[in-house]
């Protein structure tokens, strides 16, 4: 942190330079600093490129889960008033989600309810590991981090059609429309 403080004047100077860079046609808007982008960019894609430093295991996640999650999701992730997290029969992490990175992304941005965004990176890794372990996808001692998490093969990884990358075209009929 102190290191960052020392850097601050330099960064301010740098951002003064980039502030001049506005949109080319209308000269509006300003260029965000690297720091601003990092702070805003909480979207984690399937490749996990945006995952931050940190790590956690299911063992570490267990106590955290009991404290932060069990009230709504139940002691084992199969009870409670919130959606089920464990099991094969419903749309859970284990039965449905194709990428483990989405678990990290969602816990980090939206959980726990009413305290969204309050968990540290280590805590999110630990909770993600706990859910993967409870769904019998990893071992209890497996550490989840920016490197290991994107490599997890989820059970339903191939349960979907391949992503229709940019297949949408204007005027395209809906794929399952009933034509006369």
């Amino acid at each position: 942190m102190r290191f960052l403080n020392l850097l601050a004047p330099v960064l301010t100077l740098a951002s003064c330079v980039v502030v001049l860079a506005q949109s080319p046609t209308y000269g509006l808007g300003r260029t965000p600093s690297e720091q601003e982008i990092l702070a805003w960019d909480i979207a984690v894609g399937p490749e996990g490129k945006e995952l931050p430093a940190g790590s956690g295991t299911a063992k570490e996640g267990e106590a955290l889960y009991a404290r932060k999650c069990a009230a709504c999701h139940g002691p084992t992730g199969t009870e409670g008033k919130a959606p089920r997290l464990v099991g094969r029969q419903t749309r859970t992490v284990g039965s449905y989600w194709p990428f483990a990175t989405s678990i990290w992304d969602y816990i980090n941005r939206a959980m726990p309810i009413y305290q969204e965004g309050s968990l540290s990176a280590d805590e999110v890794y630990a909770l993600t590991a706990f859910l993967l372990f409870k769904n019998a996808i990893i071992q209890e001692s497996d550490a989840m981090d920016a490197e290991s998490l994107p490599k997890i093969q989820m059970p339903n990884r191939n349960g979907y059609q391949p992503p229709p990358v940019s297949e949408w075209k204007p005027g395209m009929p809906r794929p399952f429309e009933i034509l006369p």
């Binding site: 209308y26 449905y96 194709p98 309810i113 229709p164 034509l179």
Partner: protein
């Protein structure tokens, strides 16, 4: 920061209490007979911001989403289509599904839109800057993918009240992305909202460059808070969850990012499971006479309703007044705009006998609204499974809605 957060919590708490009061007020208002409300508002008090007549009491009704309600965060309301006139939905009656979050209380001075990712020039805009850019106004409907005929919908508000049509004003997202300079290899954007859960949704770049708006205006005034104030996406024709409310960020990426709403909800999860469903199909519904209404006597009526399609403009609406034995073309009451509600009318003389009223529409691509049986056959399920929600893939049901008319003039949901 902590104090700020606490203040926000307190605000939300008090807001929730106020909202509770408001719900109570709505409940009692709708229980009253027209005109029975308090005495007229003194005309001086109506000068600053107009109010409707005290004899008009059409209101949004609450959804009964049990999961969200269990957390005290249900803000889902339906548009009263049975009272709709023309094609524009008043902003105050626009349906809302906030996915379990409170509409955030955003100060427009503080709000920013960031565009970054696979672009040459990442940019941050204030609202004031966005409003200086070239803008367009377009009339588009927004429909929830869960909007469909079901047993439980006694009225058209309950069955189809999650669609509404507004004039949206804002900057084409393509213009903003041209300013940022999209890099080669970019195929999607991730949009992100500013509610507590910071919802995300991935949108294919081809659609973004076609007609997506970054809207700040709705029907001639700023977008309403529950509809996305101060800034929202409008992704016309796609299921409405793509039209990100409280828009804070656009990240340009090479592939879909698959957030929570893309991998556990809003998917097509039968054997043809797919991450994305885009357009809603051609759909029409008769808004008068519709379930819960009553025809006072036999004789002349204008059957009227709305038709819309994610495929573009509505070309034709047919109406049957004899349960589907015969069909007649209804009149399209212009304008019949692309990706907007289109009003249709048909003269009808009710002979006082029991009957069933139906409507079906055709869009500019030639897609025809299916019957429930046709829709179910396509999915390899039975109609019963769709209506009881036991069939996956039921999202996007655009089947024909039948309204039965009894001899006493009462109208009911005739799905069977």
């Amino acid at each position: 920061m902590d104090t700020k957060k606490q203040n926000r919590r307190r605000f939300l708490k008090e807001g929730a209490a106020l909202a509770g009061m408001a719900v109570g007020a709505i409940g009692s208002a709708s229980a009253q007979t027209p005109g029975a409300e308090a005495s007229p508002v003194p005309y001086r008090d109506r000068r600053a911001y107009g109010r409707r007549s005290r004899f008009v009491n059409s209101v949004r009704t609450n959804d009964d989403d049990a999961t969200h309600a269990a957390f005290g965060r249900s803000f889902n309301v339906y548009t009263p289509l049975q009272d709709s006139i023309g094609i524009i939905t008043p902003s105050s009656l626009h349906w809302v599904s906030a996915h379990g979050y409170e509409p955030p209380d955003i100060d427009p001075q503080e709000h920013r839109l960031m565009i970054h990712g696979m672009v040459d020039r990442p940019l941050i805009f204030t609202l004031e800057e966005l409003k200086r850019l070239p803008f367009v106004s377009r009339i588009y409907y927004l429909e929830c993918q869960a909007n469909r005929p079901e047993y439980k919908g006694e009225t058209v508000q309950q069955s189809h009240g999650k669609t509404a049509c507004s004039e949206w004003t804002g900057v084409p997202l393509s213009l903003l992305l041209q300013e940022a300079g999209v890099q080669s290899g970019a195929g999607w954007i991730v949009s992100e909202g500013d509610e507590a859960g910071k919802m995300t949704k991935s949108i294919p770049m081809a659609k973004v460059m076609e007609d997506v708006l970054v809207a700040y205006g709705q029907n001639g005034e700023p977008v309403r808070p529950e509809n996305g104030y101060p800034l929202r996406l409008v992704v016309p024709g796609f299921e409405a969850i793509y039209s990100m409310k409280w828009l804070r960020r656009i990240k340009v990426v090479d592939r879909p990012y698959l957030g929570y709403k893309e991998i556990s909800r809003y998917t097509r999860d039968d054997s043809r499971s797919s991450w994305f469903q885009f357009e809603m199909g051609p759909k029409s519904v008769i808004t008068f006479p519709s379930g819960g209404q009553r025809l006072p006597s036999r004789g002349y009526y204008q059957i009227t309703g709305l038709a819309w399609s994610g495929g573009g403009a509505i070309r034709r609406v047919e109406v049957s007044t004899d349960g589907g034995r015969t069909w007649k073309d209804a009149e399209l009451q212009g304008p019949a705009l692309r990706l907007a509600h289109t009003r249709f009318n048909m003269a009808w003389k009710w002979n006082g006998e029991q009957t069933v009223l139906l409507s079906r529409c055709t869009d500019e691509l030639g897609q025809v609204q299916p019957s429930l049986a046709e829709f179910a056959r396509f999915w390899g399920a039975t109609s019963e499974q769709f209506l009881s929600r036991s069939a996956r893939g039921a999202g996007h049901s655009n089947s024909i809605q039948p309204w039965g008319v009894n001899r006493d003039g009462s109208v009911y949901n005739a799905i069977s």
